[in-house]
Amino acid sequence: MLKVNGIYKAYGTQEVLKSACLEIGSEIKVLIGINGCGKSTLLKIIAGIIKSDKGNVLLREKNITHLAPEERRVGYVPQHPALFGHKSVIDNIRYGMRNGLGSEELLEDLLSMLGLNDILNKKPGELSGGYKSRVSLARALAPEPEMILLDEPLSDIDAAVKETLLPEFRRVTKLMNVPVLYVTHDPAEAEQIGDTFSVMQGGRVNDIDSANHAFEIIKKDKLISV
């Protein structure tokens, strides 16, 4: 269970997050919001990569607000796969397991579910976009994190490949049985992968009953701001 309470964050004078709150159980929550509204900022605060000005983050009832990213157990899949170019696929995926986290059984499941067994010794530079994002996901999940953050992980992927990847991503993240926060711009993608939906607006996060509803709100928002 993840609980985010009253997060504030400003870059200089630009206030990006204003009392953002969020709760996620063992579900896939899709976060929707217009460009530049602060979605990545919120994810990075949850991961500990950047510090919030105010507010706190609780994971499994533990306050992790002041922990460094390496002290939290949050899996992070950024927009661009950011694979470690000098390491093979399997070394990328095992990277977070060094300190005895995760298990060989989980690793085997991940590799077979994502169809990675044939490319384990390749270098990231030899992979197609679809495989890069699969490896990026496997790398985040292998150490068995207590929650998972995905920041538009498939935005660079062709629509056709996305069709096959989305169900895979859903199945694999479901396997972990932890809170998942998934950011996307694509309404169809949101419906396909999400259990619950939230919309970010004016620095706050509101729960919403469907992805379409969220996009309607965003459209209205855009009309007003234009």
């Binding site: 990075k44 500990g48 977070g96 985040a140 150490p143």
Partner: protein
């Protein structure tokens, strides 16, 4: 109105060929050619037979190598601050200091080193401290060449994907671990370029080396100071030979850099 502004903006089409090119040929190419023209077989033979020439050649290579190795190590540390601690006072100071050696006369740099590591502070080592040893030559070369390493590595750090560092952190790496496991291994190119640039800067240093290391033939003399000594002794032909060797060395370095760049392009 329109016409006059159009006239003032008129740039002759071949300004490059009748102004810049001759100027370049006269000021840059001609002096180098003048050296080569003055190369005499007799001077070459006498220089190549001169034991002090070979000692200064060896000193130059060894000291420049050591200086740029030391510079690369320190620059790797600077790169870490550049990545994780850009807003600290320490970083800002270090960054400012990187511009200093290029901006001060290198006699001043040599004097500074002499005062820092000379008789007063390091008198227990010898009666001149560290000064006038090959190690002093290394330190002088390091002082003037390190900033090149630091700048090159910093721009390499800027070129690496920040998200990779972020991901490594969420996978359990401290900043130092992420830097050494992820950032540095992907920066081989920058480290090599930084090393080579520093090496060529170190090869060419004269003032700081002579101030702190001295110009003792056979012990702290380097190619740059050998040339100076030979001119003073009136041995122009030997000085010319040694100078051409310096030019060849730097050409080799430039070639090394561009070959490697082409391979990785």
């Amino acid at each position: 109105m329109n016409k006059s502004s159009a006239q003032t903006k008129y740039i002759p089409k071949d300004i490059v060929s009748w102004f810049f090119l001759p100027l370049f040929l006269l000021l840059v190419v001609f002096p180098l050619l003048a050296l080569v023209w003055n190369l005499k077989p007799d001077g070459i033979v006498r220089t190549l037979k001169d034991w002090f020439f070979w000692r200064s050649f060896k000193n130059t290579i060894i000291a420049a190598f050591a200086a740029s190795a030391l510079g690369s190590v320190l620059a790797v540390g600077f790169g870490y601050y550049h990545l994780f601690h850009k807003n600290t006072f320490t970083y800002k100071l270090a960054n400012l200091m990187n511009d200093l050696p290029a901006a001060i006369p290198h006699t001043v740099a040599g004097l500074a080193l002499l005062l820092a590591f000379g008789r007063k502070t390091c008198g227990f080592i010898s009666n001149t401290g560290l000064a006038f040893t090959l190690f002093a030559v290394v330190l002088a070369m390091f002082f003037v060449s390190y900033p090149l390493c630091a700048r090159t590595i910093a721009s390499g750090v800027d070129g690496t994907d920040r998200e990779m560092v972020d991901v490594a952190r969420t996978l359990g790496d401290s900043p130092v671990q992420a830097y050494f496991r992820i950032v540095l291994p992907l920066m081989g190119e920058s480290i090599f370029a930084g090393f080579v640039l520093a090496f060529s800067r170190a090869l060419s240093e004269f003032a700081a080396v002579v101030m702190f290391g001295g110009n003792l033939p056979g012990s702290t003399q380097v190619l740059a100071s050998y040339v100076f000594t030979k001119v003073e002794e009136g041995e122009l032909e030997m000085a010319v030979t040694a100078s051409v060797v310096c030019i060849l060395l730097s050409l080799i370095i430039v070639a090394l850099l561009s070959i490697r760049r082409r391979k990785h392009a």
